[in-house]
Symmetry: C2
Subunit: 175 residues, 2 copies
DNA sequence: TATTGTTATACTCTATAACTATA
DNA sequence: TATAGTTATAGAGTATAACAATA
């Protein structure tokens, strides 16, 4: 089954023939107004739906479901910034430092990352990839790009760039 | 603190002065290649980040954090389709039917939704809003639009439409 | 046999609060 | 006082598997 593909059909169906199973007549007569189409017009709803689709394909394509997008991002940032502190990673990925601990624990348990106490500032844990982590990253990156490619293929290059630009404007906002 | 706002600064900082705290010299010299900027170019990364920002503002703006986006979507769909069955809601929101049970439980416990066994097909639970649910929905909708407006304001009308169009193409895809 | 809803179970993601150690 | 990391705790979201009732 591919639920995502049926969404528009379901909407169409709903619009053409409102459900007959309604059990409270009052509620039924009150509905079918403008409310029916609110959700599909909202940024939040569409981003959430897009995120779910990406999440699932990521799980299917990358690391056989063993790695989630958050873990991949962490590995990629450590690869790009060896020695980065956990708190910097938290800021970068916009998640709480407490949530980061568990994430790093998992990566350390898997043998891909090591924590090393900084000599200059002994509060900091510097993060670096192990050789196994480097190797894993190469595989991950290939699978990640394969995953990315499936979705990038939905767009022309200028559409893709535009989408990324518009999304960045959103996540850089601080409302 | 506003972590999201600092992301680009952090990137800039990283590019200008790579971290000095690196503890394994070998790893340090190996990095700083193309890998540093992979993440910000990926659709998945940007959608995930956007989703986090929206999620947080939603929690701040709507129902004082008592309602999450998934619950709002469920309420809005029941409002628009009184008598809708749980399985239809699952398909619509692209989540598993088993996950839907807990969600509906919470909405029923709060007194906003009632399940009513269908007479035509006794396997089905028809969902409708209670009067309290209808009232809650009106408040929720107002707060939701306020939340939406903060982000819609980042775009021109044509940009917003384009963003929604591009996102829909993504979540209607079945890769 | 297939569908609808449910329970049981498990794991990830996230947050808050309180703590330790270091600065 | 402030920062980096940790632990404890909690709740939401998700998924799979197995099951009962119904079609």
């Amino acid at each position: 089954m591919t639920p995502a593909a049926q969404i528009d059909d379901v909407y169409a169906m709903k619009r053409k023939s409102p459900p007959k199973k309604s059990l409270t007549r009052k509620a039924a007569s009150r509905a079918a107004s403008i409310d029916a189409d609110i959700l599909p017009t909202l940024l939040g709803y569409n981003i959430r739906r897009a995120q779910i689709v990406l999440w699932r394909d990521f799980a299917r394509t990358v690391a056989d479901g063993e790695i989630r997008p958050g873990m991949f991002s962490a590995i990629a940032l450590v690869k790009a910034n060896p020695g980065i502190a956990q708190v910097e990673l938290s800021t970068e990925l916009a998640i709480d430092k407490a949530s980061m601990v568990g994430l790093i624990d998992r990566l350390e348990d898997a043998g891909w990352i090591v924590r090393t106490r900084s000599q200059e500032d002994r509060r900091r844990q510097g993060l670096t990839l192990t050789p196994a982590g480097e190797k894993m990253y190469r595989t991950l990156k290939r699978e990640m790009l394969e995953h990315e490619q499936k979705f990038a293929a939905l767009y022309s290059e200028s559409e893709r760039k535009q989408l990324v630009t518009l999304l960045r404007r959103l996540h850089d906002a601080q409302p």
